[in-house]
């Protein structure tokens, strides 16, 4: 058994004082795909943003608890969020290429990180790994905004892996894409998992079942008195188990409800 990449303990997140995520604890293993599923608004994005401190950029967001990354708390006092994000890449729900050329999009990360080697080679390698190279190799200087949605998302993946991260976080990476583009992204994830640890948020359960090794099910808990609601981790384990013999009733309802 490997040392976990992330070991999350008692994670609580609130926005402007309103609790959004309560007492989440789980370990994420290296070179696996870990899926986070759950109904909309249950805190999936909130959770994944804690793993690379993107929540620091949300005004009013407050994170409590521990997120150990290779044994070190990324919320520790000595730790710079910028450094964290260089190790832990992220791909967002909507493709968000920079309004620059395809080449400059991929080269951006290495450049700001002071990459000294052969930049052209690195860009090509990243695009190949993202299965985009053949489609764009003749238009590297064209604007990235001219690509299709699926191509843009693969460009964003290439851009994320160009800084040689250790982990790639994906927040519903295929939800804005058509089915064919979605399949390509899923295939790509299977390739990437040889090298990277991947955490993917999805509300598409078939997708989670298809691609992931482990699945975490988050659910919204409602406090009847104060009418406030927050996300909790209901169940976490190997994907096969979550989908075929869930332990918790709520997981079973959610999983079967969607399939049925």
């Amino acid at each position: 058994m490997n040392e976990p990449v992330f070991s999350v303990k008692d994670l609580n997140v609130s926005y402007g004082g309103n609790l959004a995520l309560k007492d989440v604890s789980l370990d994420i293993q290296p070179r696996e795909i870990t899926a986070i599923i759950g109904p909309s608004g249950c805190g999936k994005s909130t959770f994944i943003r804690c793993l690379n401190r993107m929540n620091d950029l949300v005004p009013g967001a407050q994170v409590e608890g521990q997120v150990m990354y290779h044994g070190e708390d990324i919320y520790g006092p000595q730790v710079d969020p910028v450094t964290v994000r260089r190790r832990i890449g992220m791909v967002f729900q909507r493709p968000n290429p920079f309004p620059k050329s395809i080449y400059d999009n991929v080269a951006f990360g290495p450049r700001i990180n002071g990459f000294k080697g052969d930049l052209g080679e690195l860009v090509e390698r990243s695009l190949r790994r993202a299965a985009l190279w053949d489609e764009v190799k003749n238009k590297m200087r064209k604007s990235a905004l001219a690509l299709s949605g699926g191509q843009q998302q693969r460009l964003c993946i290439a851009r994320a892996i160009a800084v040689e991260p250790d982990v790639i976080l994906m927040d519903e990476p295929a939800s804005a894409l058509d089915p064919i583009a979605t399949v390509r992204i899923e295939d790509l994830m299977q390739e990437l998992k040889q090298e990277y640890s991947i955490v993917i948020v999805t509300h598409n359960m078939q997708q989670a079942a298809r691609v992931s090794d482990k699945t975490a099910f988050l659910y919204t808990e409602v406090d009847e008195e104060s009418m406030s609601r927050w996300g909790i981790l209901v169940e976490y384990g190997p994907t096969g188990g979550i989908f075929t013999k869930p332990v918790d009733k709520r997981t079973e309802d959610y999983v079967s409800g969607r399939f049925g």
Binding site: T83, G89, F108, N113, A160
Partner: protein, 307 residues
């Protein structure tokens, strides 16, 4: 867009025979129809009235200006007497280019940085709100007042000169650059900023390499409009550059001309030769201002982020 076409919305229902006569076939009262027609006519007339000065100004500037514009006008300083023909406003052109150039070099970086503060750092805090409000107020400060200020603060100790004119123009440009840049920076989507942060970019890297380049066409538009405004300013230069009929490139200690100053002079002289030069100068100045205004439009149409 508009579903109903004018008064047709009512009168158009006339003659729908199925409905038993009376109510629907009744036309709006005379008075109502008539006031609709009159209002339409008045609106149309105001458009003509507003367009008339545009035509008259451009027609006369071109007619009178082209009559005098020649190579000599563009390359020579004016003669020592307003009575004498010939010569030109090259001294004014040099002064305008120098002062506007220096003012741009100072106000643009400062203004852009201030806008970056407003959008990326200040947000809705008190300092940012104050800066926003008083930049707006500053765009409304009479330019002659800016001239008086620079006169008392800088000309009194250091004398008239290009540098003083540039200071006045940069104070006039600064709030325009701040506010127009701010509007453009606000249009940069949070998504691409997040993408940059997620790649491990620091804030200054994100601002310099992502936010500002994305907003560049829009920022350029604002800057060009500010430049056009500064190039046409006269009043503050009277009190700071003062004007001169000789060519100089000194930064300080020597009065210097500018195109608007030379035109103002010409407009007040009773002599035909001096007035003729003023027309040619007006054409030259208008051409400069319009080039910048036009470039501003081109830059605006290049913008990829403005919705």
């Amino acid at each position: 867009m508009r579903a109903a076409r004018g008064s047709g919305a009512v009168s158009g229902t006339r003659g729908s025979g199925a409905v038993s006569g009376g109510v629907l076939s009744e036309r709006p009262s005379w008075r109502r129809l008539w006031s609709d027609r009159v209002a339409t006519g008045v609106m149309f007339a105001t458009v003509l009235i507003a367009l008339l000065p545009v035509l008259l100004i451009f027609y006369y500037i071109f007619r009178e200006g082209l009559a005098v514009t020649n190579w000599e006008f563009l390359t020579q300083a004016p003669p020592f007497s307003y009575r004498r023909e010939g010569g030109g406003y090259v001294n004014g052109l040099i002064g305008t280019l120098m002062m506007v150039g220096m003012a741009t070099a100072v106000s643009v970086p400062l203004g852009i940085l201030a806008a970056v503060y407003l959008v990326e750092y200040g947000g809705r805090n008190l300092l940012a709100s104050l800066i926003r409000f008083f930049s707006d107020v500053m765009t409304g400060v009479p330019s002659v007042f800016v001239g008086l200020f620079v006169y008392t603060a800088f000309v009194v100790p250091f004398g008239f000169g290009a540098l003083m004119g540039a200071v006045a123009l940069s104070i006039i440009m600064l709030p325009i650059v701040v506010r127009s840049t701010e509007e453009m920076l606000k249009l940069v989507p949070q998504e691409i900023k997040n993408a940059s942060y997620a790649l491990g970019a620091a804030k200054w890297q994100t601002v310099l390499r992502i936010v500002l380049p994305s907003a560049l066409p829009g920022i350029t538009t604002g800057v060009l409009l500010a430049v056009a405004r500064a190039a046409g300013e006269t009043a503050p230069l009277i009190l700071t550059a003062f004007g001169s009929i000789t060519i100089t490139t000194a930064l300080i200690g020597e009065p210097i001309s500018a195109l608007p100053l030379a035109i103002f002079d010409g407009a007040r002289t009773p002599f035909a030769a001096g007035q003729a030069r003023a027309w040619a100068g007006a054409l030259e100045l208008l051409a400069i201002v319009l080039v910048f205004t036009l470039l501003a439009r081109v830059a605006a149409s290049r913008s990829s982020i403005s919705r």
